[in-house]
């Protein structure tokens, strides 16, 4: 069962066709996907910028992240659900788009970056939580995240343009 077969299967489902051909649902989902970026990526970068040691240096890292978390999670819930629906409706066109694969790769890398951060340097957060400039490994995680968000948004926009 190849990836091509799975994408073809998704593309041929009646739900995929209905979504693709819908007059109002598709534009609404696409609009929500784009506008929810402000809530998901637009907010989470403030945590990434703090990790990088660029902003809000007088605030502990936890004081930046904890209050933002519910809003960031809500934002990502909307972005991911609408993004998955868009993918579902256009699976075969995604398959043929290099930008889709670039975006998918960067999303995986973003997930790995977050997992590495949680499993390593975050474990010792109590030691550097209040430091204006976090340790090198935390700054690195912040910069990697910022770079990947820019790449993911750029690839997503290009993908939509050439579909």
């Amino acid at each position: 069962m190849s990836i091509h077969w799975i994408f073809e299967y998704i593309d041929a489902t009646s739900s995929s066709t209905a979504l693709r051909e819908s007059l109002y649902v598709f534009p609404i989902i696409e609009g929500l996907h784009v506008v929810s970026l402000a809530l998901s990526v637009g907010l989470v970068i403030w945590f990434d910028l703090r990790l990088a040691g660029w902003v809000l240096k007088d605030q502990p890292v936890s004081a930046v992240f904890r209050p933002l978390r519910p809003f960031v999670l809500t934002g990502f819930a909307i972005t991911v659900v609408t993004g998955s629906l868009l993918f579902w409706s256009l699976a075969m066109r995604c398959y043929g788009s290099p930008f889709f694969w670039a975006k998918a790769l960067m999303l995986v890398l973003a997930g790995v970056n977050i997992a590495v951060y949680h499993l390593t340097i975050e474990r010792r957060q109590a030691e550097w939580n209040a430091a204006p400039i976090p340790p090198r490994q935390a700054r690195f995680a912040g910069l990697v995240a910022l770079t990947l968000w820019v790449g993911i948004i750029a690839a997503g926009r290009m993908m939509a343009y050439f579909l």
Binding site: G31, A38, G42, L43, V64, P67
Partner: protein
């Protein structure tokens, strides 16, 4: 009113800049990419400031200090959005002229920009900290609604 504006929109589209962007596929696409990056950065800062005015985030930091720290990022995002948006508009001004979503976007933008630099800026100033919370919250809410209105109608241009 829009009928009277038609010659101006036609003139903008026929400028050398308009022609140039239309004929180079990559300029248009890259302008779209940086437009979206600018929007994400700018709307993100508006949301952080609104959440601060609602006392939901960064409560240990003063409103004026928070606004000052957000400012360079906010203005960079807005600048990037406005410059790329102008390029995109120039390349298809006539299409925008006849597009009802663009009409609403223009209206929201004409309201959001002055609101940003008068009302919102004034409630985040250090000497205005005595303002009742309801005034701060309402100002934040109106700013968010106006800017998200610009974004939603902007995205809708494509579908009309």
């Amino acid at each position: 009113m829009w009928d009277h504006l038609y010659p101006y929109f036609l003139w903008i589209e026929n400028t050398r800049l308009g022609h140039g962007i239309r004929e180079s596929k990559w300029t248009f696409t890259l302008a779209e990419v940086f437009h979206l990056l600018g929007i994400t950065l700018f709307l993100g800062t508006i949301l952080v400031l609104a959440l601060r005015l609602f006392d939901l985030v960064l409560r240990e930091k003063g409103v004026a200090e928070t606004a000052r720290e957000l400012m360079p990022w906010s203005l960079s995002g807005l600048f990037l959005t406005l410059v790329t948006g102008t390029l995109l508009f120039t390349s298809e001004a006539v299409k925008c002229w006849g597009n009802v979503a663009f009409h609403y976007k223009a209206l929201f933008l004409l309201l959001a920009l002055p609101f940003q630099f008068t009302a919102l800026r004034s409630v985040t100033r250090a000497d205005r900290q005595g303002l009742p919370p309801i005034v701060r919250k309402l100002t934040a809410l109106v700013a968010v609604l106006l800017w998200f209105g610009v974004a939603v109608f902007g995205r809708a241009i494509f579908f009309f």
